[in-house]
Every structure is written in C-alpha cells, then in structure tokens.
Symmetry: C2
Subunit: 224 residues, 2 copies
C-alpha cells in the first residue's frame, strides 16, 4: 500500500507532481499551506478545485502565518515589489526563507500520523527562479534528516519527480498525465487573471509555448 502526501500549492509544477503521485500510488492526500503569501486566496481556490477534481483520500490546509509575519520576501510582504522577469540569475526577492524545509517538515509530521510513505514536492532546480531550497543537494540532505528524525516505523520517501525537468517538459508531462491545467495558478499577483510579467508567469508562458501546448488559464490582455 503506497500512500502519498502531495504538497499542492495549486501551481503548474505542484499540479503535475500531483498527477505523477496519483499515477504511482494507491492513495494520495493533498496538503496546502497558507503562509501569508500575497496569492493566498487565489491559490486556495486552485487547491479546492484540484481537490474536487482528484478527490484525494484526505486533504489538509495548514497555516504558517508566521512565515508572512517575519517578512523578508516579496511573496509575503506587499511593500516589496515582485520583479518583472529580467533573466538575472541571483536569488529573487520572492524567495521565502527556508520555506520548503518548513513545508516538508509539516508533511513529514502528517505522514507519521497517517502512515504515508511518500511525500511529493514539485521543486524545479535548473529551469527555475534559483531558490536554494529547490536544489537537489538540499533534498539529498533533507532525506537523511527525515530518515534520522522520525520513528521509522514506515520509511518516508521524499519524491522530487520534476526537479531536473525543463519547464516545457513539465508541461508535456502534465499533458501525458492529463492534469487539469485550467485549475492551476502560477502568477505571483493575486488577481483574477494572470499578470503575464512576473518571473512565474514568464516561465510558465515560455514553457507552454516551447511545448506547443495552449495554456488554458486567462492572462492580462496582450500578455500571452
């Protein structure tokens, strides 16, 4: 019996990861984290739509408001502007300090309680925004941390199935897995339609274009 917890923000990467988890496990449970991100309400809508679509065995929404409280990121602090994509390779201001370690730790706690043996996260290393907690090396050490810090009754595997894919490959994989892209949300702004100019929109639009697939979500006029 393979039971997987999927960290599901509602973005394209976590959606495709959920599709993968669904294919490879007997049961999936979805975990969404609110952390005061500026897109909190929009992400939550996506999460609910995806729960309706996939009907996971369990779903859980948890609050990490303090990640927003402590600040330090344009994703949680509206006084810091979300930058327009400029191709720079430094760590962007949208980096939320050590966020993924917090998300994974929460998922591991839940996994120990519900006896899940897989945790899926849609981190992408190379073709992404350059966040340190999206790198393979971080996950390698996180795996050992999980092995040594839990009861070990059921070993918990941390799965990063799309970490080395290019974004366009993620789109193609999503098509293959028949994921409902129309319910996903990637934009860093909290509007009804995607802005088309932030890092995240830029990477998404370029990915669909390169994959030769139409992105079914709505964008601001002229931004597609």
């Amino acid at each position: 019996m393979n039971r997987a917890i999927v960290l599901l923000s509602g973005g394209m990467d976590s959606l495709v990861t959920a599709g993968m988890a669904r294919r490879n496990n007997d049961s999936v449970c979805f975990l969404h984290v609110n952390y005061g991100q500026r897109t909190e309400s929009r992400e939550l809508t996506s999460f609910h739509n995806l729960c309706n679509y996939y009907q996971p065995e369990q779903s859980l929404i948890i609050n990490m408001d303090w990640l927003g409280q402590i600040g330090g990121s344009a994703l949680t602090d509206t006084s810091i502007a979300v930058r327009v994509y400029d191709g720079k390779k430094d760590i962007p201001k949208t980096y939320v300090p050590f966020r993924n370690a917090n998300l994974i730790s929460a998922a591991v706690s839940w996994a120990e309680v519900i006896s899940a043996n897989h945790i899926y996260i849609g981190a992408v290393e190379e073709d992404s925004s350059g966040y340190p907690d999206c790198r393979e090396i971080f996950y390698r050490h996180m795996r050992r941390t999980i092995q040594t810090g839990t009861q070990g009754k059921i070993p918990i595997e941390l799965e990063t199935p799309i970490i080395h894919l290019d974004k366009y490959q993620i789109v193609k994989l999503g098509v293959e897995l028949q994921v409902p892209f129309e319910f996903s949300w990637s934009c860093y702004q909290n509007n009804e339609i995607a802005c088309g100019t932030c890092d995240s929109c830029y990477l998404r639009l370029r990915a669909f274009e390169k994959a030769g697939v139409f992105d079914p979500i709505r964008y601001a006029p002229g931004m597609r």
Copy 2:
C-alpha cells in the same frame, strides 16, 4: 557580531540552553512555538517570565496549531494519556511527530530575515525520553540541510550544547550560568504545580537530586 535565536519552550533544558546562548553571543532572540501542546498556557507563562528576566533583543511567538490538529501525540491529544514514568526505552506517546524539524525550520526562516548566525536548541539524547529528533545524528543531517537550503549570506550554525549531558549535569550547568530555574516548567500536565509523576517530572526531579540542588518549582504534595 554573534546573534543567536534560542528555541525556548520554558522547560529546564531550553532554559539552560538559553543561559549558554546568552553567555556566548552578543545578542539573543527568543522563539517560542505554540502547537496545541496540553501545557501551552503554562509554557507561555514561563516564556514571558524568562523574557522579562533575560530581556532578549527580540522575541517571537508563533503558532503551529496544525501539529496539534493532526494529532498522534499525548502532548497534543488529551484523549491519549501521558504515561507515568516506567523506565521503558521505547518511543513514548508524548513524541510529537518530527516536531523539532518544524521548530528548527521556523527558526532558520527567522534567522535568515534577522541575520542571526546561531540557532540554539536544548535537545538531550541519551538521558532523555528517546525521541528520534533529539539524536545527534538527526542534528548532523539537519545542519547540512540548513547549509544547502538557505541563501548562505550568513552561515547559520545549529547549536545543541547540552545534547550529550546527563540531566544532573544540565542542572549543574544551569547553576553555573545562574539561570532562573524558578521560572521554568517541565511537567507534561497543564496544572499550576508540577505533577511529579510524568516522564518529564521524573527526569527533572532525579536530576536535581543527583546534582544536590534544590528545585525551586512547586510539586504536587508528596511528589518531591
């Protein structure tokens, strides 16, 4: 400039750890986490008293209510009894799944924002309750996880200064550091006075006795 964040529950171990951090750093910041533990209000009183005493540069209280929501521990689920100390070496029901990884991850996020370069946690491996996330090997991997998952502008060191001490040595160290034991709280029950029978009270009482030091907190009649 050494700025340390101390994970301070208000118990004896975290208090002595705070005393150590205070001695070895230019500045200390105290972090307390509420996670629906049955002793939440009692711990919070200790935390406030210790903030008054030490006057840290900053203090932060964060909520991880979901750790209580997901259950699986006698510390957060009042339907599971806190066991009377019985000397058994298995993982007790008071284990909160992967709790310390969650606490440390939160501390690391805060450290990145306020440029703290040390995080102190009062974990004790051998002379303790046998929780997996109190073992040296877990901290060894957690350190690598922190190194590889953060921006690295300021390297963040994870300090576990009392991990290999016996409990009576922790008491002696506390005396040497002149920590205010009277403000600390170790009991797993949420009463005005310590029960004297849970694992935590048993270990504390034995420690003070072996150290030849009077424990200034109040215990239930006949339990000292």
